[in-house]
Amino acid sequence: MDWGNIFGNAVGEIISPTTAAYALAAIGLGVHFGYTGLLNFGQAAFLLIGAYAFAIPTLAGAPIIVAVLCAIACSVIFAFILGIPTLRLRADYLAIVTIASAEVVRFIVTTTGLTDFTGAANGLSGFKGTFAAINPIPAGTYGFGPFTYNEYDWWVRIVGWTLVVLASVLVWLLMRSPWGRVVKGIREDEDAVRSLGKNVYSYKMQALVIGGGLGSIAGIIFILPRAVQPANYTTGLTFFIWTIMLLGGAATIFGPIIGSMIFWVVLSLTQGILYGAIESGALGFLSTTQAGQIRFILVGVALMLLVIFRPQGIFGNKKELSFSV
């Protein structure tokens, strides 16, 4: 087994754009669930919308700023579509509607009738030009050891992690303010907040839009190193984002970032070790496909252990969580 390579790959995940994308998506979900108490089980849909609403205009020749604004605008509209009928109702209605609509949008982009726009099951590619064109880094290879990338890969990482930092600062500013106090109050008991003269519906909508908008930006970062593939946006993606958020601590600033890093490092390590063991014959009875699935079984087990032994996540406050009903 090539341990150097296995660890190298795992360490590389710490700053990978995918890790940044998942962190952004988890920050958004944290605004929904961790701070406001909204049960969004369709965060994957916001990533999907961000990805397609960025890629489609780009392929049609739109400048990058237009494509980014289009992605954000579409996620805002989607948040309103989800929120208007459900946010006046009990919390569980939003959960049902988000699960269902995430599947609906995935089926919509996969339908062959829309092949000209969405590429149907094949997805979209060839949209990286506008992003690469604004890359200030001269062509070449930079870095050391496992962190050696070309100019495009560095550019994606720099932009991705800058956005993670900006999103974290935004959430920190919001949550320390009286606005944050209102949404946290809504998480605890929305009728109490209503009785104090706050427009609960409007605050829930604002939180849904902000978290969803962060999800759509995550969707853009997620596709920049790869192609748009509708198969990436299943409920499995939502489940991983939830895992990351709970791992780090739902209502924390650093939780989603560290949660995403740990998640991807562990996935990479287990993949490296399992594949290595299969190659060396130690686990000869497994195929590499099965090994890939085993990794996700391990994620499930890890999540169970987490919920049992550290329900507040890594950064969460045990006392705070122990009061939750």
Binding site: L173, L174, V182, G185, E188, D189, R194, S195, N199
Partner: protein, 328 residues
Amino acid sequence: MSNIETAAPQTHPLVKGEVGPGCAKTDPIVIADSVTRQFGGLKAVDVAHLEIPRGKITALIGPNGAGKTTMFNLLTGFDKPNTGTWEFNGKSLAGVPAFKVARAGMVRTFQLTKSLGRLSVLQNMLLGATGQKGEGLFTSLIKPLWRAQEEENTARADDLLARFKLDAKREDYAASLSGGQRKLLEMARALMSKPELIMLDEPMAGVNPALTQSLLGHIKNLKEDGTSVLFVEHDMHMVMHISDWVVVMAEGRVVAEGPPENVMKDPAVIDAYLGAHHDTDLGDLMEDGPNPVIEAERKAHEAHPEAETAGYGVSTTPAATDADDEEK
């Protein structure tokens, strides 16, 4: 209902015309008309006319299930009536959402306390303040815009917390408070919004009797500051002691109202309470003795002690009530 004692029409300074259920007030803050709320076959609220006097302390009493909490929910926009209109300060509030009712100056607390568990006591209090600049999405991002206001609100919150003996708990999570402390916090939080009318649903339930006295004083102070108070309470001592006016509900309807010293003697009230407790021996009530309403309350409490919280049924004899009145 024939009423021998009140054969002569009664009058009262708060009342325009004759005292009786649904009577008009000289200066009402709330006027409700034909408000009904049906739950399946049960008419939980069926109030033909009700006026709440301004600047006074009004008690809303009645046996369990009389519809008091439902009436609160309707007036404050937390529930929708089947029929009815009501106005607050001359402004119609029927169909107005709960948060706008609160902004209009009519703030309520809940019978089942709604403290915000994973916010600190201070944060709970600050949430009560109105017109906060920092509650806007964009203004919230720039602290200098709301820092000064936050400091003012914090000072006011600290003042209220001290008065409600919660200052030592300032930084604790509200979830760590006792039931009685949560009642206090909820009331203090409602006061943060400087309401014109505060509606308290069983404010004393579960509150330590030693603190009850100071709370009574605090509610009286509210009146002196010009706040109108409407409260639901089973503690007859409190009702007799601080209220200027008492409204009695039974089976959804207003069956009697009047000043506290008279309303307890109203046969309709005795009926209302005893109607709910058929096991009470009516013979006991014919003799001179403890106030029948209070006795019925006490017996109901003995029959279902688990259904009520401490502080309920602190019984008081008519003599004690008179003594309280003399204190005034």
